[in-house]
């Protein structure tokens, strides 16, 4: 009954989306306020409908209603409650329902907090949002119904893939989707602006917080995913340049470029049509990611061709979204006149350079991701595009980008002085030299020394350069430390946000480079009492025992780790789980984190030839810096998002507020 109710609510949401997608557009075109007012009301209705559907599916999972096919395929009574709930989005249908729910949440947020927007712009943006939702609700209802029943119901379900029964993975998809779907706001605003034929500083000011929020979520989602791979896959890797990972990196790259170009629109009234195009591309890449992941085309082109219903539907959606928005763009964008002029050496100039390089990097990742598919479709055999390709191409494109990242913020708007900026950056160059030298000394092959010198040098350049910019901005160089200290807390949050985000990237780069170059690993059979030394740390093995979890049994090993000086550092208890329902093992690595690296231990199967267990011991240098850097980047985003000008900086609203106060006074 509740399941049917959920299904009905989904159909209702579908119909409401169509109304919300058409009526306000007509209203905005005719200047009819009544029709435009349908948009916020419909947003609320759509949120309630999709939310009800989601709640109904969650209910079916919580009570283990095995007459629902989706629950049968992905749940089991013995599963802990947390994973019954997260199982809702741990599958194709449920994750799409979550996608649409998040879309509805963003729509509702725009309806609730968008009172300071011009009514026509808001009506149009909400209508575009609804048309996207209409497409995806149709996809759900016609090809991927999560509420399909099965008869007769089985006694129990097939359980959730054990790999998904993990806190990191449980919350990774919602964040990723909040990011993907969040970019739909920038898209809706961009299309609405194209329809109106007007893009100005105010437009950029409204779009930036939504883009920033989406970027924060996507950064968190990607970071969570990498962290999960690191501790769960059991060999210390955290990024594989897998097509599915690339699918999340693509909108992140484009979204990062969008954040930066929107600054130029807001501050200088330039780069308008490029920013609009970026907003469209960013969301298109989110859709493309959904297509790649959801259609099965990555697994094999043939698998996709043999059951193409879902893939063709998403491809059709993608084609419509892209076709319509690009056509609109080609028609309207030439009329968008840019205002602010600037020299190549200026803040705008550096942001434009950032955009050019980010666009090339995005294109490179897209090329690498799609190339194997293209070759296969053309019948030219099969090729693999793996990490070495991306390290060469993407890596090389990142070098000028990071170099420019430290210089750009030091340049003035309109016309900057490169010589002065570079003179200020001498400490950053010195730090880069020291870090590069350290990187070379730390490496033992010529190849890794080159990469280490470049990577560590860039990281130090960016970190110190960003700090120099902070000092410059605070007036340290012109008015001395006292003034700087007084001014620092009062600086705009957006400035602090940039400082933090750039610092975070610098820290993360050092972590990424160090961990990939200097990992030390040791694989062996160990019996209780054996010791093994890895990178100067001695791991003493005390044997393994069986432990029982809620729906799995595990073999848990125990190690004591001593440092080079013989002092005990920690004990590590890695385990290998075997889940009862799906006989698939998972490894739970034990990790001890220090500031400069992780001690990482994994216990495997009992050895075949002699007494003992296969153990894998790693020293993963600088890995924590990746996570610290990511968190600092997210913090930077949050601080920037809290900047007051995102809330009160829009003049129209301030005026209304003033008028209201005046009215009350009289």
């Amino acid at each position: 009954m509740i399941v049917e109710f959920g299904h009905f609510a989904l159909v209702l949401g579908f119909v409401v989306a169509l109304v919300q997608g058409v009526v306000p557009l007509v209203g905005a075109q005719r200047g009819n306020a009544g029709l435009m007012a349908v948009a916020p009301a419909a947003s609320l209705a759509q949120f309630l409908a999709v939310g009800t559907a989601f709640a109904a599916l969650t209910y079916a999972y919580v009570v283990s209603d095995f007459s629902v096919l989706n629950v049968v395929n992905n749940s089991h009574t013995a599963k802990p409650l947390l994973y019954k709930i997260t199982g809702v989005w741990g599958n194709h249908e449920g994750s799409l329902l979550l996608w649409v729910l998040i879309l509805a949440v963003f729509g509702l947020a725009l309806a609730l907090f968008g009172n300071n927007l011009p009514p026509a712009l808001r009506a149009r943006a909400l209508a575009i949002q609804a048309l996207v939702a209409f497409g995806f609700l149709g996809f759900l209802l016609f090809t991927s119904n999560p509420f399909a029943r099965t008869m007769p119901p089985p006694v129990n379900g097939q359980g959730l893939n054990p790999i998904l029964q993990d806190p990191g993975l449980a919350f990774h998809p919602p964040f990723l989707y909040l990011g993907y779907v969040g970019f739909s706001m920038a898209f809706s605003f961009a299309v609405a602006a194209l329809i109106e034929g007007r893009v100005d500083a105010a437009w950029a000011r409204w779009v930036r917080p939504w883009t920033l929020a989406a970027w924060i979520f996507l950064t968190l989602g990607i970071g969570l995913g990498a962290w999960w791979a690191y501790y769960e896959l059991g060999w210390g890797g955290w990024w594989f340049w897998d097509p599915v990972e690339n699918a999340s990196l693509l909108p992140w790259l484009a979204g990062t470029a969008l954040l930066h170009s929107a600054i130029v629109v807001e501050k200088r009234d330039a780069l308008k049509s490029w920013t609009i195009l970026l907003a469209i591309i960013t969301f298109a890449l989110s859709l493309l990611g959904t297509f790649l992941v959801r259609s099965g085309v990555l697994t094999s082109v043939h698998a996709f061709a043999s059951d193409p219903t879902r893939g063709v539907f998403i491809l059709g959606l993608l084609a419509i979204v892209l076709g319509v928005s690009f056509a609109l763009y080609a028609w309207r964008a030439p009329h968008l006149k840019g205002g602010g002029l600037f020299r190549p050496v200026s803040r705008e100039g550096s942001l434009l350079l950032n955009n050019a390089l980010m666009a090339a990097a995005t294109g490179t990742v897209l090329l690498g991701t799609l190339f194997p598919l293209i070759v296969e479709v053309l019948g030219m055999g099969k090729v693999s595009v793996g990490p070495p390709y991306y390290n060469y191409t993407f890596g090389i494109l990142m070098i000028p980008l990071v170099l420019a990242m430290a210089v750009g913020p030091m340049l003035a708007w309109k016309r900057g002085r490169l010589g002065r900026a570079l003179a200020r950056l001498v400490p950053a160059a010195l730090a880069a030299g020291v870090a590069a030298g350290w990187g070379i000394l730390r490496s033992d092959t010529a190849g890794s020394a080159v990469v280490a010198a470049i990577g560590m040098g860039l990281a130090a350049w960016l970190v110190v350069g960003t700090l120099v910019e902070l000092l410059e901005r605070s007036g340290f160089y012109r008015h001395g430390p006292a003034t700087a200290l007084r001014r620092l807390p009062g600086m705009p949050r957006a400035a602090w946000g940039m400082t933090l985000a750039h610092l975070g990237l610098g820290i993360a780069i050092a972590g990424m480079v160090g961990s990939s170059l200097w990992k030390v690993e040791s694989v062996q059979v160990m019996a209780a009492g054996d010791s093994q030394t890895v990178a100067g740390y001695t791991f003493a093995f005390h044997g393994a025992r069986e432990v029982k979890g809620p729906n799995y049994t595990a073999v848990q090993g125990s190690f004591t780790v001593k440092g080079p000086d013989g002092a005990t550092i920690t004990t590590l208890d890695p385990s290998k789980r075997s889940y009862e329902v799906r006989s698939m093992p998972t490894t739970e690595a034990a990790i001890h984190t220090t500031w400069v690296g992780d001690l990482y231990a994994v216990v495997g199967d009992p050895a075949k030839k002699r007494e003992g267990f296969v153990t894998r011991l790693y020293y993963n240098p600088l890995v924590p810096w990746i996570w610290i850097g990511s968190v600092v980047m997210v913090l930077g985003g949050l601080v920037s998002l809290s900047d007051r000008r995102h809330r009160v900086g829009v003049p129209a609203r301030a005026r209304t507020a003033r008028r209201q106060t005046d009215g009350e006074g009289a």
Binding site: G90, N161, I163, L164, G168, H172, P173, G225, A226, A229, L233, G234, W235, G237, W239, W241, P243, V244, E245, A247, S248, V293, R294, G296, T299, L341, L352, L353, A356, L357, A359, A360, G363, T364, L367, F371, M380, G381, K382, V383, S384, V385, G386, P388, F394, L397, R473, G490, P492, V523, Q524, T587, G604, D605, V614, R644, R645, G649, P651, A654
Partner: protein
């Protein structure tokens, strides 16, 4: 980050937690073993989804690792081992795609993209310069709009002033 992959294929293809190299497979000489590991990271486990044989616990990956180690033990260089694997499994086995007519677009693409992007920036500046000369003074309409905006924009202006002071 493999998680989304896991969602998609429900773990069917995505090998479970990678166990990778087993102690019994290892070569006695640490130098040779190190080389075998390096080679293993450049070769794809051909039944896995984008995994190197060094990190996969599929049976086939184990067999492929064995072949790599036999070759290295027999005195082959890293390049020779990779060439041997390529002759056996085709280009598909190479995670670093070879440069040949089929992959010119792949390897040339990034450079072309970067040139297009930078070229577009240059064209942008050039166009701006010519337009700059054309419409330097404000038209009456633009001047009126500027006044209107300035009058409206008290809050924002105050905000900007404060920022200007901090800069």
């Amino acid at each position: 980050m493999r998680l989304t992959a896991a969602l998609v294929v429900a773990g069917a293809l995505l090998a479970a937690p990678a166990a990778a190299v087993q102690p019994s497979e290892k070569l006695d000489d640490p130098g040779l073993e190190q080389r075998a590991q390096e080679v293993g990271e450049k070769l794809r486990c051909v039944v896995c989804q984008n995994q190197a044989i060094a990190n996969s616990n599929a049976d086939l990956a184990a067999d492929m690792r064995k072949i790599v180690r036999e070759r290295i033990k027999a005195g082959a260089t890293n390049e020779e081992v990779i060439q041997y694997m390529q002759s056996r499994y085709g280009d598909y086995v190479l995670l670093n795609p070879p440069v040949k007519p089929k992959t010119y677009a792949l390897w040339g693409g990034p450079a072309v993209l970067a040139l297009i992007a930078l070229g577009a920036v240059l064209v942008y500046y050039r166009q701006r310069r010519t337009r700059d000369a054309e419409d330097a003074p404000l038209s009456a309409e633009e001047a009126a709009r500027a006044d209107r905006l300035l009058a409206e924009d008290d809050d924002a202006a105050a905000d900007d002033d404060r920022r200007g002071e901090a800069t």
